[in-house]
């Protein structure tokens, strides 16, 4: 017969020992467990995704029509943007300025999302590409052309993405129109918040937030989200804004890991 007190004590010691494992080894253990669970997670995801697609086929067909129309409009916008980009390049060259916008991304790896953190308190994705495909820690992860997160752990065949809406995430960002900078972080209840906006800055709902490029993790100018509401924290000298990410982080299926 097991003595309860001894078992509880042993469990506490085991958990403390686990917490004392250095972070690189912790990542190794997690990566090993992840590679073991990758296949069953992928199978369950495929079954659920197929069922959800079948249930929502009308919705999907309507979305397809909407997106086809939007694509037509986007082509025109893209053409104009390309013109503006080329003009900007010419003018920058003429003025001899250092290019503020990074050159086109060097490399991009498309990965499928095979799992999501099942708890509500953290927002982490599991993707089906790892070090064998050239994925490494701290690579920015995009959805479309907007920032979704960054790689935090990378195993041989799978990697983990920390979404910008996770409370552990911190991204240096700025407001596209006023160029005021701040820090974007995830909030426990979901969504993102931008802090440290100067009180003098004019911020309005709908303003675009993009990466500021400081810290070296994320290239400058990646779209992140739009401001939903803004307020001044009592007793503080800065403003805070709730930001809606441009990427639909709850429904990501494919992502782009770039560098």
């Amino acid at each position: 017969m097991l003595k309860p007190n001894r078992v509880f004590f042993a469990a506490a010691v085991f958990l403390l020992a686990l917490a004392a494992v250095p972070l690189p080894q912790t990542a190794g253990i997690r990566s090993f467990v992840t590679s073991l669970l990758k296949t069953p997670i992928l199978l369950s995801k495929t079954a659920a995704q197929t069922a959800a697609d079948l249930v929502r086929f009308r919705e999907n067909a309507a979305e397809n029509r909407r997106l086809t129309e939007a694509l037509g409009r986007a082509r025109t916008t893209e053409f104009r943007a390309r013109e503006a980009f080329l003009e900007n390049e010419r003018l920058t060259r003429i003025l001899g300025l250092k290019q503020a916008v990074p050159p086109p991304l060097k490399r991009a790896v498309t990965a499928r999302v095979i799992g999501r953190s099942p708890s509500t308190w953290n927002r982490v994705l599991l993707i089906d590409k790892g070090t064998r495909d050239g994925i490494h820690v701290n690579m920015p992860v995009l959805s479309g052309l907007s920032l979704a997160g960054k790689i935090i752990e990378s195993g041989p065949t799978a990697s983990k993405v920390l979404l910008v809406s996770d409370p552990n995430s911190r991204v240096g960002v700025m407001l596209q129109s006023s160029r005021h900078q701040g820090i974007l972080y995830g909030v426990f209840s979901g969504g993102c918040r931008m802090k440290y906006i100067p009180v003098s800055a004019a911020v309005a709902p709908g303003d675009t937030v993009e990466t500021a490029g400081f810290g070296g993790f994320f290239p400058k100018g990646l779209a992140v989200g739009t401001v939903r509401r803004v307020w001044k924290e009592p007793g503080q000298i800065y403003q805070v804004a709730d930001v809606d990410p441009l990427a639909d982080l709850a429904r990501l299926e494919e992502v782009l890991c770039v560098e």
């Binding site: 017969m1 097991l2 309860p4 078992v7 509880f8 469990a11 958990l15 403390l16 686990l18 917490a19 494992v21 972070l23 912790t26 253990i29 997690r30 467990v33 992840t34 669970l37 069953p40 997670i41 199978l43 369950s44 995801k45 079954a47 659920a48 995704q49 069922a51 959800a52 799992g115 999501r116 953190s117 099942p118 708890s119 509500t120 308190w121 953290n122 982490v124 599991l126 935090i152 752990e153 983990k160 920390l162 409370p167 552990n168 909030v187 426990f188 209840s189 979901g190 709850a250 429904r251």
Partner: protein, 173 residues
């Protein structure tokens, strides 16, 4: 290992896969299926059984965690052991055992995680703000809806053998 505990571990793993898959149906908020399953088995098996199952269930959430390991295992272990300790006081088929306890346990897990997160990120975590931030209507409704369904399904799967198997593990009541 006899079939009762083995069945419980397999059920928890299946519930983890189901919870992972459920995110494609409920993208905004997922029902806490693993937690509900853990409470079901812990309520029939006692604190040691609950602790063992809680530590096992915590492993699944650890793989999605970042930083130090063991926090999710600790939270689920405490929940499993606490539910097990209540097994002599709460009837598993009662309204409290089947519906209110899972909702309360899910809220406790969210508050515990919120506090852990705040402790790691901030110097001075505030319990009151954590209580507010951890509360989610969506989670509450999903837990209340799914809990009786999971309990009923697991009752059929385990067919009352969990308690007998757990007592063979040396359960302390």
């Amino acid at each position: 290992m006899n079939s009762g505990p083995k069945r419980a571990f397999v059920c928890l793993f299946a519930l983890f896969l189901a919870q992972n898959a459920a995110q494609y149906v409920f993208p905004e908020s997922t029902p806490p299926l693993v937690l509900i399953g853990l409470l079901f088995f812990a309520l029939s098996g006692g604190p040691l059984y609950g602790l063992a199952l809680g530590l096992f269930a915590g492993i699944f959430f650890e793989i999605f965690g970042i930083g130090k390991m063991g926090l999710q295992m600790a939270v689920f272990g405490v929940l499993g052991a606490s539910a097990g300790a209540l097994s002599s006081k709460i009837f598993r088929e009662s309204l409290f055992g089947e519906i209110l306890l899972p909702a309360a346990a899910n809220y406790f897990a969210a508050v515990a995680n919120c506090l852990i997160l705040k402790t790691l990120l901030e110097a001075d975590p505030d319990l009151w703000s954590a209580l507010g931030e951890a509360f989610s209507w969506r989670q509450l409704i999903l837990t209340l809806l799914f809990s009786p369904l999971i309990f009923s399904a697991l009752r059929r799967v385990s067919s009352g053998r969990g308690g007998a198997a757990a007592s063979r593990l040396g359960v302390w009541r």
